[in-house]
Every structure is written in structure tokens, then in C-alpha cells.
Amino acid sequence: METTMTESRDVSAAGITMDETQGLTFPRIECKNIDVFYGDKQAIFDISLPIPDRSVTALIGPSGCGKSTFLRCLNRMNDTIESCKVTGEIIMDGENINDPDIDPVLLRSRVGMVFQKPNPFPKSIYDNIAYGPRIHGLAASREDLDAIVEKSLRRAGLWDEVKDRLTSPGNSLSGGQQQRLCIARAIAVRPEVILMDEPCSALDPVATARIEELIDELRKRYCIVIVTHSMQQAARVSQRTAFFHLGELVEMGETDQIFTNPRERRTEDYITGRFG
């Protein structure tokens, strides 16, 4: 746990910690030696990172540092980009998700994702939520589906605002509501992990505060990884923070420790605003 934090073995040891409020949290996802290439250009260099369950892990760093690229490795969204190649192991529930035998389509139903800009489908609010359960056959009947939709919207804290207009289009909601709709949509397929790629960057401060409250609520059930440009947000919502720079993992640890007592000089410079 000393200065050589980027060594994978030490980090994986650091991932298993006692959390006084929730008992033992073990790494839900264990990333080992991840490299990502776009064509000939390497975007991520040998990153090893454990991600604990039932907590929020924040990925911070300046633009272009590879944090979004890393996030997209976790549900193999990089597969949809032709030139992108990922190497290394990502162990989730005892399986390496980069294994060719793993079906990325099924994997993505276990690892939900929320994007930077709210992107509801051009369908009704109800159909937005019901889309995932329908394609995965999660609901046996219309009542089941109604129940899933209601539960997802409740968990996303949107139910009271939209329960009377489930048939109106998703685009008719405000930006913050749309983003919560997208979170509800991700929850509806019963994921274990939720990835959030700067979920508040397109929202005003009030809507941001709502989403942050929601993230804090959701971490009781899900393993959450969030990419954010706002260090205050990372400090507010996350339990663990990883600092990326130029495609490398500079430092990771408890959020309090990263923000109050960083071990690396680069981390300190970044969080105090000296670069980035």
C-alpha cells in the first residue's frame, strides 16, 4: 500500500477492504493489464484496477486520458468501434469477459450503461423502459412488464413525476428527467453493474444534484463506475477514486484519501487545479 500503487498485485489487495457500514466488499470486477488500441495508436497502457461491489468508483482525469475508453471496456462497447482492440483480462463473476466465448450482447444486459447526453429512444416513456425487458424476455405478462416499469422508474426517482403520462414521448421530459429515464431504462434489465459516462455533464446544477442523490441511493444495490470531469462530484458521490492520466492509471484509493492526501505528485497537481 505504499508508493507503488500502480502495481496490479498491490491494487488488487487494496480492493479488498473492510467497509464499516456495509461489511466486506469484494472486487466485483477485477481488471488486469488492460491495453486498448485504436488502430496503431495505444489509448490505454497496462491498467489494472479492482472495482468493488455495492459502491461507487469514480474515474477522474483530464480530457483524453482514456477514462471513457476504459469504462467502455467493461461492457465491451468498444467492440462496436471497428478499429478498436482490447487486450488483458477483465474478470467478472469468475469469467474473463474479454474471452471470445463470452457473448457481448448478453454481457451488456448484465452491465448497464448511462451516457453523457441523455439519449431516450424516440418512443413513449413506458416503451423506453420496457424495451430492455421485452428483448430479453424478462416479463411473462403485461402485468409483469408494468411492474418492472414501475419499479425501475421508482428506483430512478422518476415515478412520481411521470406516472400520469407514461405514454407521452421520452423526448418531452426535461434534460434531468431524461437522464433519470435513461438510468431507469438501464436498471430495467436487472444489471449488476452500472457504468455512467459523465452522466451530469449536460445537466444544470439542480438536475445534477438529483442524479447524485440517485447514484448514492443506487449504490446500495449495484456496482457503479462513474466517469466524471467534476472533482467535486467525484468527492461527493464516490467511495473510491481512480486518477487517469495519458492512458495510465496514476493512482487509486479511497476517495477521501485521494482528495485529502494523494500519494502521487500528478494527482495532487490535478485535483488542486494546476493542470488538466
Binding site: N119, F121, Y131
Partner: protein, 471 residues
């Protein structure tokens, strides 16, 4: 002397004159402005060049208006002046004959070829040349006067505080507007002439008899029931769209969602080449390859049905030209319209929507079916409507492969005729512009215009609505 002026080449002369005047005015304005604007003088509004453009503009435009006026009305003016001077026996001539006579005068004057003709003719030709010379000379003088007036007025305004730059900008705007107005004016003119001739037709043939009559026989007897033509047009467009809509749409989906950049780089240009093949080539392909093939298949079906006892007489018409042949080939012709437009529309669906669906564990085809297509649907409908109006207005393929017989028959192997085929038939060969036979072509053209306009308008509206959907 005045006669010699009649031979002036006005087009070239005016062009050279205008260019010289404009460039001269430009330099004068520029030099004048350069006197007060240097690096040191800060309070000058526009740079010397703009003053030059401004003066040139005001010199050029008035002279140009005069030149255009001559181009449009000069010849008519000469003729009316000449015909008012002609002796009495010419005044009694019918209008058409007089025009023909004046045409031959103008031709003789132009070619200097009037020496051998009779005395009256050569006298009139000389007078024609004199009048022409008069008009040409006064046009040039008028143009020069107008240009000079404009030049002097504009030059007086050249001053440090004068906003020549903004004035030139205004002039450019007017010029661009006029260019746009030409297209609109042409459209209005065409529609007006269609309407006018159609009204003449409907004065003789009742409107409802034309629209809902079932017998069309314009060439031999005067039967103008256009319903069989509408039916034929509709039938062939339907067959074409049955081919083009699915094939074009699926090709667009493949290109935009499945094909890699390499395949796309090859397939898309090839599909667009299909749109560049002249329709007459499609036409003889339909006539020489597709129609005989359809005919032999139809004959085979007929004989099989009869030999197995399922039918007692031939079921299909099996004509050498058929609705099916024309429709099939036209369908192939419109595929690129559908695929290219749909491809653009599908590409315009934000990538974030696809990402959202993929991130929820949807496969590519599920994403296309549930997310991409519904989002792109208005645009796809618009592309289909544009393809329909293209198919309805298409002429060459149907002229060659659909036949000439006007009839209402659901049998696709029978020959049919369409609006466009009949227009071609009515207006080619010997025609007389006053008979209902020829005028009916205008009425058909009007119907065609209204129908395609209707489809295009719907398509435009749908596209506009679609644009509001994102951002």
C-alpha cells in the same frame, strides 16, 4: 449609313461595352477612394476596392437593364414599326402570314441575300435594316447615357464616411435573389401555360368526362376518358415500388448499419451509378430482355394450367410488352433513389441512440428494428414518396416497354399505357396546336404535375417534421 448600323452584332458589342464601362468605373472609384484612405487615415469606412465595386455596380446595372430591354423587346419593336409602315395590301394580310413574311425579311436582311429578290421585297428589307440600325444605335446611346448617369451619381457619393461595403453587400443580395427568382418564375410560367392550355381543352371536353371516363382513344376518335391512363400509371408505379421499396430500404440498412467502411466505399458508388444510367438504356433492357422473358413465363403458365385441366383457356394475356416488364425495370431504376436517401436518413439517426440500445444488450438487428428504423421512419417515408413521384413521371421505360393500349386490366402480363406514354404519343409526329387531341396532352401534363407535386409536398412536410425531432 443607318442601314450599315443594322448589321451591328449587338450581343458582342453590348458585352464588350458593359465590361469596359464596369471596369473603367471600378478603377475610377478605386482611385478616388484611394486618395483619402491610406494606412494613416482611421476614419474611412470602406476600403478603396469597395468604392470601386460600388461605382462599377451603378455604371453596369443601368446599362445592363437597357441591354436586356433591347434583347427582350428590340426585335418586336422593329417589326411593329415596320408593319405599321407597310402598304395597305399588307395590312389586310392575316396575322400568321404577315409573321412568316417578316421572318423571311429578317432572314434576308441578316444574310445580305436580298439583292436578287423583287423590288418590293428588297425595299422592305432595306427599310427593315434601317429601322434595326436606328433601334440599335439608340440602344447604345441610351445605354451609355444611363451608365454615365449612374456613374456620375455613384461617384459623387464616394467619401470617407460612405458605407460602400454595405451597399455592395446589398447589391450582391439582390443579384442572388434575382438568380433564385429566375427558377421560380420559370416554374410559374410552365404551370401557367399548362393551366391555360388545359382550360382550353376543358372548354371542349367536360372536366369530369376527362377525369372519370373509361375510354381513351385520342388518336383516332375523340374519346378522352383518362381513367385507363391513370390506372396504367398507378399499376406500373405500384409494381415498381413493390421492387424498389424493400430492396432499396434493405440495401440502405446494410450500407449504414452492417457494411464496414471498405464495403461501403465500394457498394455506395456502384448503387449510385445505377441512378446515372440513362432511362432509355433501361427502356431497351425492359423491351428486349425482360418483356420477352415475362411473356415466355406467362405462356408457360397458361399452357401448364390448360394441360393440367385447371383452366380451359389462357389465363394470362402474355403480351410482348407488359405492365410487369415496365414496372420491374422501373423498380430497379428507382432503387438508388430509395437506398441513397434512406441511407442518409439512417445515418442521421444519432449514434447515441444506437449506443443506448447496444448497451442494453440489443443485437444489431434488434437495434435497427426497434430504435433506428422508428427514428428514421419519417425520412424513409419521404424517400419512398420521392421515389413514387419519380416512378409516376418516368417516361422512357414505359414508352418502350408498357405498350400503347389504354385499358384497365389487373393482369400484369397485359400491355397498358400511362399518362406519360400518351403525352409522348400525342405530341410527336404531325400536330396541330388547336385540336382537342393536342390540348389533351396539356391536361394530362397538368394531372401529372398535380399528382407529383402532391407527393413531393407530403415528402417535404414529413422531412420537416422529422428534422424537429432531434436537437
Amino acid at each position: 449609313m443607318v442601314q450599315q448600323l443594322g448589321h451591328l452584332p449587338m450581343g458582342w458589342l453590348m458585352l464588350a461595352l458593359l465590361a469596359m464601362l464596369a471596369s473603367g468605373a471600378f478603377f475610377v472609384g478605386r482611385v478616388q477612394a484611394a486618395r483619402f484612405s491610406g494606412p494613416g487615415s482611421a476614419r474611412v469606412h470602406s476600403r478603396p476596392n469597395y468604392h470601386g465595386y460600388y461605382v462599377a455596380m451603378w455604371t453596369f446595372v443601368p446599362a445592363m437593364v437597357v441591354a436586356l430591354g433591347y434583347g427582350l423587346f428590340g426585335d418586336g419593336l422593329v417589326r411593329s414599326m415596320l408593319s405599321s409602315e407597310l402598304p395597305a395590301n399588307f395590312q389586310d394580310m392575316p396575322r400568321v402570314e404577315l409573321d412568316v413574311y417578316l421572318n423571311s425579311i429578317a432572314r434576308a436582311a441578316f444574310h445580305h441575300g436580298y439583292s436578287g429578290a423583287d423590288r418590293v421585297f428588297s425595299a422592305i428589307t432595306n427599310r427593315f435594316l434601317e429601322l434595326q440600325g436606328l433601334i440599335k444605335a439608340s440602344t447604345i446611346v441610351l445605354a451609355l447615357v444611363c451608365a454615365a448617369t449612374g456613374f456620375l451619381l455613384a461617384r459623387r457619393r464616394v467619401a470617407p464616411g460612405f458605407r460602400a461595403r454595405n451597399r455592395v453587400e446589398g447589391g450582391i443580395e439582390i443579384f442572388l435573389f434575382l438568380c433564385a427568382a429566375i427558377a421560380i418564375a420559370t416554374t410559374i410560367g410552365i404551370v401557367a401555360s399548362l393551366l391555360y392550355e388545359s382550360l382550353r381543352f376543358f372548354a371542349e371536353i367536360p372536366f369530369w368526362d376527362f377525369l372519370f371516363g373509361t375510354r381513351w382513344n385520342a388518336q383516332t376518335s375523340a374519346e378522352f376518358g383518362a381513367l385507363p391512363l391513370f390506372f396504367g400509371t398507378f399499376m406500373i408505379a405500384l409494381i415498381a415500388m413493390l421492387i424498389a421499396a424493400p430492396v432499396g430500404l434493405f440495401a440502405a440498412i446494410y450500407l449504414s448499419e452492417y457494411a464496414g467502411p471498405k464495403v461501403r466505399g465500394w457498394v455506395k458508388p456502384i448503387l449510385e451509378i445505377l441512378a446515372g444510367i440513362p432511362t432509355v438504356v433501361y427502356g431497351f433492357f425492359a423491351l428486349l430482355v425482360v418483356a420477352p422473358a415475362i411473356r415466355s413465363v406467362a405462356i408457360w403458365i397458361n399452357t401448364t394450367l390448360i394441360s393440367t385441366g385447371l383452366a380451359s383457356e389462357p389465363l394470362l394475356a402474355a403480351q410482348p410488352t407488359s405492365a410487369l416488364a415496365a414496372g420491374l425495370v422501373m423498380g430497379i431504376m428507382v432503387i438508388p433513389f430509395v437506398s441513397s436517401l434512406s441511407d442518409d436518413v439512417i445515418n442521421a439517426v444519432p449514434q447515441t441512440l444506437r449506443d443506448a440500445a447496444y448497451a442494453m444488450g440489443a443485437t444489431k438487428s434488434e437495434t435497427v428494428k426497434h430504435v433506428v428504423l422508428p427514428a428514421a421512419l419519417p425520412g424513409i417515408i419521404a424517400s419512398l414518396l420521392l421515389a413514387v413521384s419519380r416512378a409516376i413521371g418516368e417516361t422512357m421505360i414505359v414508352v418502350m416497354a408498357a405498350g400503347q393500349r389504354a385499358r384497365i386490366s389487373a393482369d400484369p402480363t397485359a400491355d397498358l399505357t400511362t399518362i406519360t406514354v400518351q403525352i409522348v404519343a400525342l405530341l410527336t409526329g404531325e400536330t396541330e396546336f388547336d385540336s382537342p387531341k393536342t390540348l389533351s396532352a396539356f391536361a394530362l401534363g397538368l394531372v401529372l404535375f398535380v399528382v407529383t407535386l402532391f407527393f413531393n409536398l407530403i415528402a417535404l412536410r414529413v422531412v420537416q417534421k422529422y428534422r424537429e425531432k432531434y436537437d
